[in-house]
């Protein structure tokens, strides 16, 4: 059960009542405007109360909210999109959607992880869990972008890579490892946005980027909280505790230098103003691409190297900085 969805139930009731009152008020002799206004104020108060500050676990639930804009909501708002399918070998994985697009008039290759909103769509999209074939599609599209000189724009939204039998049989490790390799050497700008849940290596495979953007209430984690709890304590029901420890919020990750930019969400989450949220994210991506535009391919790859080369926290007696020259 999604804790955010649960909370919204009460609020939805209130919203409905206010709307009804407003309609009724129009055809009534007695003006109830002041009462309605008071109710609305109350509603806003509750909203702030409920959503004003979210715990990590609440953010995990926000990231998984069924109404939250998914990759296709962003892709659908691009000026144009021409989907390219398949890994060229074996299958077209619908948990990844990719192709050519125009973003604010700028030609790019866009790649997004896609979960479903209902059972049928979730089956088709494998709950956004990408198989090796999907990662090979990603790899292929990244190479194509590099070949044509087109920037790569990715949308990350996955609990993690598909952990099924056939994914193991088709070398999931190799598929992800090759994505990391390709994104590291791609000679074009890369902007990745964590739009929902960013789960472990399966998310990172699309997120080695020159600029990493994250929505305010998205999460990005070394493992899903459930997975972490199972690994550490042999008890996946302790997910909430794991979430609180993992430092998986956008704010934490910006502090660590893993995320470059956090895009704010409306009070109550991106789905309360999907259109506005999508607009803000696309504007942030466009701005990032604008900044990266000036860098030549060598400089771009070098800067990307420096960025990932220095990530981490450790103690050392050395005083010299880590060597990063090529």
């Amino acid at each position: 059960m999604n804790v955010i969805v649960e909370r919204e139930k009460g609020l939805l009731e209130l919203e409905k009542r206010i709307a009804e009152l407003r309609t009724a008020n129009e055809s009534q002799p007695v003006d109830m405007a002041p009462e309605i206004s008071a109710l609305e104020q109350k509603y806003q108060e509750i909203l702030r109360d409920v959503f004003g500050s979210l715990t990590p676990w609440e953010k995990v639930n926000m990231a998984r909210h069924p109404g939250r804009p998914t990759s296709l909501d962003y892709i659908g708002r691009l000026d144009r999109f021409d989907e390219l399918h398949g890994d060229r070998h074996f299958r077209d994985d619908h948990a990844v959607v990719g192709g050519f697009a125009l973003l604010h008039g700028r030609p790019v290759v866009v790649i997004g992880q896609q979960r479903g909103r209902d059972t049928k769509e979730n089956l088709r999209r494998n709950f956004g869990m990408v198989t090796p074939e999907g990662y090979r599609k990603v790899n292929r599209l990244a190479k194509l972008a590099s070949h044509l000189g087109l920037p790569i724009v990715t949308f990350v939204d996955t609990k993690g890579a598909d952990p099924g039998i056939s994914s193991e049989e088709h070398a999931q490790s190799e598929a992800i490892a090759r994505c990391l390799y390709e994104f590291t050497i791609a000679r074009v700008p890369i902007v990745a946005t964590i739009v929902g849940e960013g789960g472990s290596g399966g998310a990172l495979a699309l997120a080695i980027a020159d600029t990493v953007i994250m929505l305010e209430h998205s999460v990005y984690s070394v493992a899903s909280p459930e997975g972490c709890a199972a690994i550490l304590w042999g008890d996946s029901t302790k997910a909430e505790e794991a979430a609180s420890r993992l430092k998986l919020t956008a704010q934490d990750l910006e502090r660590f230098g893993i995320v470059d930019e956090v895009v704010p969400e409306p009070l109550g989450g991106a789905h309360r103003d999907s259109s506005g949220s999508v607009t803000r994210v696309l504007a942030a991506i466009d701005a990032a691409l604008g900044r990266l535009k000036a860098l030549g391919p060598q400089k771009l790859v070098e800067e990307r190297y420096r960025k990932y080369r220095r990530l981490g926290v450790w103690q050392t007696e050395r005083r010299e900085p880590i060597e990063t020259s090529s």
């Binding site: 890579a161 952990p163 099924g164 039998i165 994914s167 193991e168 049989e169 088709h170 070398a171 999931q172 490790s173 190799e174 992800i176 490892a177 090759r178 990391l180 390799y181 590291t184 050497i185 472990s200 290596g201 990172l204 495979a205 080695i208 990005y220 984690s221 070394v222 493992a223 997975g227 972490c228 199972a230 690994i231 550490l232 304590w233 505790e241 794991a242 420890r245 993992l246 430092k247 998986l248 934490d252 990750l253 660590f256 893993i258 990307r304 190297y305 990932y308 080369r309 990530l311 981490g312 926290v313 450790w314 103690q315 050392t316 007696e317 050395r318 010299e320 880590i322 060597e323 090529s326």
Partner: protein, 286 residues
Amino acid sequence: MPAPEWLRIRRSKEGGKSDAALWSKCPDCGDVLYRPELAENAYVCPKCDHHFRMSAYDRISTIVDGDFVEIGNDVLPGDPLEWVDRKTYPNKMQADREKSGLSEAVVCGFGTIANFDVALGVMDFHFRGGTMGTVVGERLALLFEAARQKKVPCIVFTASGGARMEEGMLALMQMAKTTATVTRFVEDGNFFVTVLTDPTTGGVSASFGFQADVIVAESKAMIGFAGRRVIEQTIRQKLPDQFQTAEFLLEKGHIDMVVGRRDLKATLVRLLEYAAGGRRESEKRA
């Protein structure tokens, strides 16, 4: 870079502490084995060929000719998440340091194998299940960078449960960091070999583990992306024993070869000879 600390390789001390620790039971055939003899036999059961997990220094001593120059051992763990569960992260680390005699889950450095200069990274499952946090990533990154400078082949022995939870996303980012240094090393035309040992999963198999030019796996090693238990929970049925073994992966085309530990050094020497030959020929042709 600071002057590296020179270290004589040393046998790890595990098993030398009490009488009971002098004996190990083979989990495959059940035989009770005298540990000093087991050590002489590269930790392979003489009866059933079971490969016991090896400590990093034991491994190094079976591979390099003699001296081994460790690098990166001055890189030591922090506690970026200020992690606490039943214990604090620093406390867990302290316990593993004492248990394993290691400062972290990987030992990196330079040595020779049949007179070939090589960069060598060896992970150790006895330290935090070989999980990759910042220190593992940083030490390997230093290794790949130094190997690139020296233009010597790099061999990495993996043994890992994946990314280290207690360092959160900074642990995950080590997949990116190691990849960054691997790509530079490999794209420069250098030779990279991984030896996947039992077990190799998650963030390690899905980064440098499967980015090598030649991927060797030790006999019967368990290798995969998702852990066996995770898959079983997902599909709600038991997996066949063979699943995710080195031999299974060979059949599925994922790895180049499966090698028994006693043939491993000889195999690596031959691989180094081919690569050295290629480099020699290329230089002549250039």
